[in-house]
C-alpha cells in the first residue's frame, strides 16, 4: 500500500510535530522509499511464530509499593522552562 501525504500529516498530528505542506511532501518521498524496503517483510511466512518483544524473554519484576526516593522537586524543577509554587507552568487548557 502506498503512503500518502495525508498519512504523513496524520502521523505528524499524532506525534505532535508541526509540519507544513512542503515538509510533508519531502518526508513523503523519503518515507515512501523506506516503506518500500520495509515491505520486504511481507514476503515471509510467519504463521505459527510467536512475536518476540524482548531479547531475554524475562518477566517484568514487581517492586514493593513503598517510598524509595527522597523529595528532590526543587532540583528537578530547577531545569524546567517555567515553574511556579512547585508546579510546571503550561498554557491554560480549560477556559
Amino acid at each position: 500500500m502506498a503512503l500518502t501525504r495525508d498519512d504523513v500529516k496524520r502521523a505528524a498530528r499524532l506525534a505532535r510535530i508541526a509540519i507544513d505542506e512542503r515538509e510533508a511532501d519531502e518526508v513523503l518521498g523519503q518515507l515512501g522509499r523506506i516503506f518500500g524496503m520495509i515491505e520486504e517483510m511481507q514476503a515471509v511466512d510467519v504463521s505459527g511464530v510467536e512475536p518476540m518483544s524482548h531479547a531475554q524473554d524475562v518477566t517484568l519484576r514487581l517492586r514493593d509499593d513503598v517510598v524509595t526516593e527522597a523529595d528532590q522537586h526543587e532540583l528537578f524543577q530547577g531545569i524546567a522552562p517555567k515553574v511556579e509554587n512547585g508546579l510546571y507552568l503550561v498554557p491554560k487548557v480549560i477556559e
Binding site: 520486504e40 512475536p51 531545569i79
Partner: protein
Amino acid sequence: MHRQTLKSLSDALEAGKVSSVELTGVFLKRIAERNAVYNCFVSIDEERSLAQAGEADRARAAGRAQALTGIPIAQKDIFCAKGWLTTCGSKMLSNFVSPYDAHVVQRLNEAGAVTIGKTNMDEFAMGSSNETSWYGPVRNPWNTDTVPGGSSGGSAAAVASRLAPAATGTDTGGSIRQPAALNGICGLKPTYGVCSRYGMIAFASSLDQAGPMARSAEDMALMLNAMAGYDPRDSTSLDRPAEDYTRNLARPLKGLRIGLPKEFFAEGVQPDVAKAVDEAIREYKALGCEVVEVALPNMRLSVPVYYVLAPAEASSNLARFDGARYGYRTPEYRDLEEMYEKTRAEGFGAEVKRRILIGTYVLSHGYYDAYYIRAQKLRRLIAQDFTAAFEKCDVIMGPTSPSTAFRLGEKAADPLQMYLSDIYTIAVNLAGLPGMSIPCGFDSQGLPVGLQVIGNYFREAQMLNVGHQYQLATDWHTRAPADIQT
C-alpha cells in the same frame, strides 16, 4: 602519555609514575588543542574533571585504588551525568544539565574513573555517520573528509585521536561496533541486560545497550568490569553474579570453533573489507581455531525489521520531550497543543522526526499487525538463526561494516543508503547477543577495517579472550592516524 593503553596508564598510576591530576591535565590539554579539528567533544568541564582526578589521587594514596582509579574516560553524551550538560546530540536537550547520574556513570565514578568530557553523537543515537548531531558532524581522525560512523562517533574518534584512553558508547543497531570499525578502535556491545539503561537516554528500549570503546580487548575488559552490574532501576537489567571479564584473556584459542555465515560475505561488501576479514580469519586459523560454515538465512530481513521496531519504540520513548518539564521549549505559542507541536518541530532534527513518524505510523490503528507484530515475529526467526548457528560454533565472525569510512555528506541525503551501513550489526541487537568490533587491517585508502565477533549470550569474557589473543599476534590495534604519532 596519550599514546598508552588504558592498561598501561593504569599500571603507571599504580607505580606512582604519574598522578591522575597530571594525566587528566595531559588529555584536557590535547582536547583543548585538537577538538576543534575533530569535534569529538560537546562538553568539557576542566574544573570538574580535575576535581575528580584529585579525588582519585587521594583514594589511591589511601590505598583504595582499583584498575580504573584516576583514568580519564570520555562519556557519550547520551549518559546523564550529574552537573554535566547532557544533550544527546539534540537541540531538544541543549540546555539540559542532568540532575542525576546514569547507572553506568555512577559505576565508573565509583570505580574511580575521571569523566574527561561528553562526546558528540548522532541526535538521540539515530544515525550511522554522526552527521545528525545538532552540534555538527564529527570528523574521522584517519581522514577528516570522512565520517567517524555513528551513533557513538564522538567516542570512537576521541579514542582514535588519543583524546581519551577509552570511552563509553551505546549500541541499538551497531552504534558502538560500526564507529569502532571506522575509527580503527575496539568496541563491545554486551548481551542485552548486562549494563543498566538507567540514565541512558532511551532510543529503542528493547535494543539499547551500553558498552566500552577502547584501544584493546584488555582495556575493554577492564571497562566492562566497572560498567556491568545489576540495577533494580532498570526493569530489564539482569540480576546475575558479577563477572571478571579479564579472567579468560590469557587462554589459548586452540580448538575454538569460528562460524562464518555466508550471508556476511555476500554481495555489497567492499573488496578491501572482505580481504582484511579473510586475512584475520587466516590468522585465527594459525592460532589453532577451526572454521565452520553457518547460515543466518533471515539476516537479510534484519534491516526492515529494525526500521519498524526501533522507530516504534522511539516514537513512544521520545513522546516525553514536550517542552513542559525540561529541555527546549519554543519561545512563542498560543495554547498547549501549539506549544507541543512547535517545541517538537523545532527541537528535533530531520532524522529524529523521520523515525518518530515511521514509528507513529506503524503503531497506528490498522497497521499494527501488518508492521509491528509481523516485525516481532521475524525478530524471533532472526534470533533462532543464531541459536542454531551457535550449536555448531563458539563465536561468529564477519565484517562489522560493509565499507570503510565514507565521505561526509555522501549518504546524508539518502536515509536508506545510510540504514544499510548497519546491515551486519543490526541482527545482533535484535537477538540481544553480545557483539564486538576489533581492528583487522586497512583499505587501499589507509582507512581502518573492523572484524566483527559475535558471541553467544553472556560470553563476553570469551569474546574478549578471542580479541586479546588476536591482538597479541597482530598489531592493527596499535596503529594510529598519521598526525597522532607525535
